[in-house]
Amino acid sequence: MRFDKLAPYSPMFLDAIGTTIQYTVISLVLGVILGLLIGIVKLSNGPVAKVLKPLTVAFTAIFRGVPLMVLLFLVYYATPQVTGIELNTFGAGIAVFGLNTAAMTSEVFRAGIYSVPKGQTEAALALGVPKKMAMMDIIVPQALRSILPAIVNEGISLLKTTSLISVLGVADVMRTAQLVMSQTYTAFEPFIVSAVIYFIMVYVLTFFSNYLERRLRKGD
């Protein structure tokens, strides 16, 4: 085994880590915010929510039913053809990964919010607190506590899923391993390195979530 052969490529791997983190973090943040909003829409009975609800259900169904690789190709290659708008790989990747995260977490949020006892909303209303404010300050924080593990799982899965962006030629960790393989004529070493990088990043994420969970639990 010749890991020393990889030494000249370590700056490439470092850049790749940055790229993977970038795709993961931006998609996760956008996806979780959008997922929360969609989750709330799924639970609401207001006039606006009634119109949006079928759309959110269809949205979730599409992302559940179609492989991300297919969606990625559709968004990247077919959008310019249909709309004339050129999307760069970054835009296409963030759109597909972000929306996918939104679709998955919206269900998690829906279930989590639904599990908070009704009396909590009623107590807030009885104090003259508007419903939206009660949702954001009282219901969602309680829901978050129970769904945080599920959200982190989604983040972990997203981190690994971003390796799909390599098929569009983006030099993330996965693509970099491929490039190094083609230049060094070794396969084992670069892919082992990429595997270890992904593993460590997931491990850090898990550690961070345990810390967050402990902090959120201070109330019980």
Binding site: G119, L125, A126, L127, G128, V129, D137, I138, G219
Partner: protein, 240 residues
């Protein structure tokens, strides 16, 4: 003054309230009693529109609560409510539970709200729990904090929905004591309760609710001395 006029409430095909009319005068302490399933809690929840009545009117100081143009949030602040299962916010400390609504909805300053929170906690005997989280409190303590939280809005009326039903016997007394003090201070209140001795002791009027109608509404002494209706008589015999 709270006026309830011909109030109806049904859940699907189930008629819970069947034309309720009565008036709560300033400084009244009205005990709402009656058999289970008679609609006592539903009636209370319709007064501050936590439950939307099917038909009929609720007027608080002449303001129609069922009117869509009424600022219902503002009206609810004048009408505090205490629930059977406390409903403290578990993600907030006792202090935060108390100051949350006044600072967020009335624009009260934090310092001012905290000052009043301490005063009210002292009043219910729980100043030492100021920075505690609800999880650490006993049932009776939770309910006293819930009462203090409702009082933070400076309500003119208080609605108690079975405030002691979820409590162990030894904790009932401390909660009833707080409610009794409030009644003595002249707070206008309606209490749904199963505590007959307390009801006799604290209320000045008794509303006997049976099968969604007001079977009897009279002065407390009168009600206990000689109930007018047969149903109320039977009920009293069973529970006293």
């Amino acid at each position: 003054m709270i006026e309830v006029r011909d109030l109806h409430k049904s859940f699907g095909s189930l008629q819970v309230l069947n034309g309720i009319s009565f008036t709560i005068e300033k400084s009244d302490a009205v005990a709402i009693i009656g058999p289970s399933g008679g609609g006592k809690s539903t009636l209370l929840r319709c007064i501050n529109m936590i439950e939307t009545p099917t038909s009929g009117k609720v007027l608080i100081d002449g303001v129609d609560m069922t009117d869509k143009k009424t600022n219902i949030l503002q009206m609810r602040q004048r009408c505090g409510m205490v629930f059977q299962d406390f409903n403290l916010f578990p993600n907030m400390s006792v202090r935060e539970n108390l100051i949350y609504a006044p600072t967020k909805t009335k624009g009260e300053s934090r310092a001012e709200a905290e000052e009043r929170a301490k005063m009210l906690l002292d009043k219910v005997g729980l100043l030492s729990k100021y920075d505690e989280y609800p999880k650490k409190l006993s049932g009776g303590q939770k309910q006293r904090v819930a009462i203090a939280r409702a009082l933070m809005m400076n309500p003119e009326y208080m609605l108690f929905d079975e405030p002691t039903s979820a409590l162990d016997p030894e904790m009932i007394k401390e909660v009833l004591g707080v409610i009794r003090d409030l009644a003595k201070e002249g707070m206008t209140m309606a209490i749904v309760t199963h505590e007959m001795n307390f009801c006799r002791d604290v209320s000045n009027k008794v509303l006997f609710l049976d099968q969604g109608v007001v079977a009897e509404y009279s002065a407390t002494e009168e009600f206990y001395a000689c109930p007018k209706t047969e149903r109320a008589r039977q009920f009293l015999q069973k529970v006293m």
